[in-house]
């Protein structure tokens, strides 16, 4: 296929997809079980954006950062604080006399601001922290996320952050198309970045820091750049998550949230944007929709299916994750990306692949047996 043709094909697919979402939104009523589809699409695309931003640092630059939840928190608060209508502030900031800030800014700028504030924090945090080596960096960024959470819950900052209380009533979106398009644009920008010379420098740092430095790549500058850009998009992701949830509270942005994104990145494949996106949607769909029935008691005829009760969903879910982590180390995509040619090839080879599965398994087992010896 020629390049033009591929572009055209991509544009058509995207347009058809968006039209389909728009159309379905019109016909699926909110009280139908299928309305969960939109929850998955909305939350999935937001998670995809944050996962891709995390992949930029962890998968492409090889820095082990665990601060994503903290940057999302900053973004979500920056967005929410500046878009709560003035008339509603007295109700929201009920313990703080309506709060300190008495103006709003348009939604678009608020989202941008969310990213910028998160990026500024990342820049400041990065100055000392990015000089640390892998595991130390991980634990330091994790620590920073916890510190940020404590600061945002601090009562003394209540007039701005509302202390421990929820922020609500801020501007949200109406259509599922909004988060999908917003996240799509952000991910496209990250793609452009990764395919630029900066992206190649990031990958060089990931492969070998010393070799990269020897080639004339300024290590610290590039690490800082990757870290700041990643946080910028995590901040935007946080703002969108706030819009999705319609309320926001600092206590939700725990280390567990960062781990979720890390698992998504790993399931999708470290260093694959396509992988992170696919994994995000699968992750959300499984957890919020498909596996939810595991939480309630179920009768098939008179037979009560054993084990099913509140909490079982998460157990099954974590077992599946362990299996993926242990046996499909490279994740869904490895480091590969989506391409039309790849898709075509995959379809062409599919019948042969299915036929050869038993043989391949045998070979693999043999190989592993040899290695173990």
């Amino acid at each position: 296929m020629t390049k033009q043709k591929k572009w055209l094909l991509s544009c058509i697919v995207i347009a058809v997809f968006l039209a389909l979402v728009y159309f379905l939104e019109g016909i699926i009523p909110s009280y139908s079980n299928w309305s969960m589809l939109f929850t998955v699409l909305e939350k999935g695309s937001i998670y995809a954006l944050v996962a891709v931003s995390m992949n930029l640092v962890n998968g492409f630059t090889g820095l082990f950062s665990l601060g994503q939840a903290g940057f999302m928190l900053i973004g979500a608060y920056a967005y929410a604080v500046f878009t709560i209508p003035v008339a509603q502030r007295a109700a929201v900031y009920q313990y703080f006399d309506g709060g300190l800030i008495q103006f709003t800014i348009p939604v678009f700028f608020a989202i941008l601001l969310a990213g910028i504030v998160a990026a500024i924090f990342a820049f400041l945090i990065g100055l000392p922290v990015l000089r640390l080596k892998s595991d130390y960096l991980a634990i330091a960024t994790l620590g920073f996320a916890e510190i940020i959470r404590a600061i945002f819950q601090w009562n003394a900052l209540g007039p701005i952050t509302n202390g421990s209380n929820l922020l609500r009533k801020f501007a949200t979106y109406q259509s599922a198309l909004f988060p999908i398009i917003a996240c799509g644009i952000c991910i496209a920008i990250i793609c452009l970045l990764i395919n630029s010379s900066y992206g190649r420098a990031f990958k060089a740092i990931r492969e070998d820091e010393i070799a990269a430095e020897a080639m004339g790549i300024n290590l610290f500058k590039h690490k800082q750049l990757s870290f700041v850009i990643s946080s910028f998009f995590a901040g935007i992701g946080g703002a969108l998550l706030a819009m999705f949830q319609t309320t926001i509270q600092a206590s939700a942005f725990k280390a567990a949230m960062t781990y979720e994104f890390l698992l998504i990145v790993v399931i999708g494949g470290m260093g694959s944007i396509t992988g992170s996106i696919i994994a995000s949607f699968l992750f959300i769909a499984c957890r919020e929709w498909w596996l939810r029935f595991l939480d309630s008691e179920l009768y098939i005829g008179d037979f009560q299916v054993p084990l099913l009760r509140a909490g079982f969903r998460n157990v099954v879910f974590s077992v599946v994750i362990m299996i993926i982590v242990l046996f499909y180390r490279k994740g869904i995509m490895g480091t590969r990306e989506f391409s039309w040619n790849g898709l075509l090839r995959w379809f062409k080879n599919l019948p042969g692949n299915i036929r050869s599965i038993p043989g391949r398994l045998k070979r693999k087992n043999k190989k592993e047996a040899q290695i173990n010896e």
């Binding site: 421990s164 609500r168 319609t246 509270q249 206590s251 939700a252 009760r309 509140a310 046996f327």
Partner: protein, 395 residues
């Protein structure tokens, strides 16, 4: 090994789909009869408020077992409860709420804990589904909206009641307030208590503990050091048990005051045999309606799951009685609405009145129940049971 894993994934997938299909078929079959009304139960079954949420759900389930049908305009409908777990968390709550909306419920009951209720409020509003808060006491739940109602009293009332109680009974001059960082309920209630207590001429020392904290030694020591007359800690029962234990270990002699969350057998269990003095304000006093008491106890005892959900014994929590009342309030609303459509129920709710086990329920213009009395109970540490102290109102 890999083969085994593949097989496991495959089996899981097949099981998932077969079971998933099974459940859908069943739902379709019952819905086909046209005689089913779904009531959503939006309660925590895990997380900080898991224990309380389960007890509240028990009340709703018990009410459903007593009265599983409702007659609307001469047609009898089966009432089916749809339970979701909001995990006591404001970020998991909204998707759980969306799930309820997707199940096509007519009205939602819940939740225990104000934060999750506020978080899900907009989801219900968007879908046009009315919700009846059972024991979410923060004013923000019903304020400024038309779809959220509640049958319990509010934190400003409760905080004032407790402040009055502290000054009246203990002649308290200094109060030590402890709330959980990032928790709407405890922070809000402490705030109202502080306002009322300072209004009565008292002094407040206010501290917060972070999420995941289980070491309350220093907090108890701080309270002792501050020479406080009362220790006010309206926190979740999980933290409460630890605080009681620590207060006992350090020989803290001031009384501990708390709000409605502490009215639970978790607290009496933790306090049994310890040297502590605990007072709570609550919605219901055991013995207020003997018929209800014996009925619900027998029902809980008959089923091991229910017994486990109630903490392993049949001690009644006020939230169970509240859940019971909430269910019947919802049925009244359905009857008054004359149809199971959420919009009709919402329109009918403001006019509903129901005489529940916890007192008369009528709604005011913001959708809150008209309540001006709270029960004060004391924990008897020898028997591990609640004892009625007084009915306290606001002066």
């Amino acid at each position: 090994m890999k083969k085994l894993a593949l097989l496991l994934v495959f089996v899981l997938a097949v099981a998932t789909f077969s079971v998933g299909c099974g459940s859908k078929d069943k739902a379709a079959a019952t819905a086909g009869e046209g005689g089913v009304i779904k009531i959503g139960v939006y309660e925590p079954a895990s997380g900080d408020n898991g224990a309380g949420g389960k007890q509240e759900t028990l009340g709703i389930q018990y009410a459903n077992s007593i009265c599983p049908t409702v007659e609307i305009n001469g047609v009898t409908y089966d009432v089916q409860l749809e339970l979701v777990d909001n995990e006591s968390s404001t970020d998991k709550g909204p998707t759980a709420a969306k799930n309820l909306v997707g199940k096509g419920v007519s009205v939602v009951l819940g939740s225990y804990g104000s934060g999750v209720s506020i978080a899900a409020s907009d989801i219900f509003a968007e879908a046009g589904i009315p919700a009846i808060g059972v024991t979410c006491t923060n004013p923000q739940v019903t304020e400024g909206n038309t779809h959220y109602f509640r049958i319990c009293f509010l934190d400003p009332f409760q905080g004032t009641v407790l402040a009055n109680f502290a000054t009246d009974v203990f002649a308290a001059k200094t109060a030590y307030c402890l709330s959980k960082l990032g928790d709407d309920y405890s922070v809000g209630l402490c705030n109202y208590f502080q306002k009322a207590f300072e209004g009565l001429g008292g002094k407040v020392v206010y501290e917060t503990f972070p999420d995941g904290n289980s070491d309350f030694t220093s907090y108890v020591a701080n309270a002792i050091k501050a020479n406080a007359d009362v220790f006010f800690a309206p926190v979740s029962t999980e933290a409460a048990a630890l605080i009681i234990d620590q207060a006992n270990a350090q020989g803290m002699d001031m009384p501990i005051l708390a709000g409605d969350t502490w009215d639970s057998n978790v607290i009496t269990g933790a306090a049994k045999g310890k040297n502590v003095e605990i007072y709570v304000t609550t919605f219901y006093q055991e013995g207020g309606n003997p018929e209800f008491d014996s009925g619900v106890k027998a029902w809980i005892e008959a089923d091991s799951t229910n017994l486990a959900n109630n903490g392993g014994n049949t001690d009644l929590a006020a939230v169970t009685a509240m859940g019971y009342d909430a269910y019947f309030t919802a049925l009244e609303a359905l009857k008054a609405a004359g149809s199971p459509a959420p919009a009709d129920v919402m329109a009918a709710l403001p006019g509903v009145s129901y005489k529940g086990v916890c007192g008369m329920i009528t709604f005011n213009e913001t959708g809150d129940a008209n309540r001006d009395i709270a029960y004060v109970k004391k924990c008897n540490t020898e028997t591990g049971a609640w004892e009625f102290v007084a009915e306290q109102g606001v002066k």
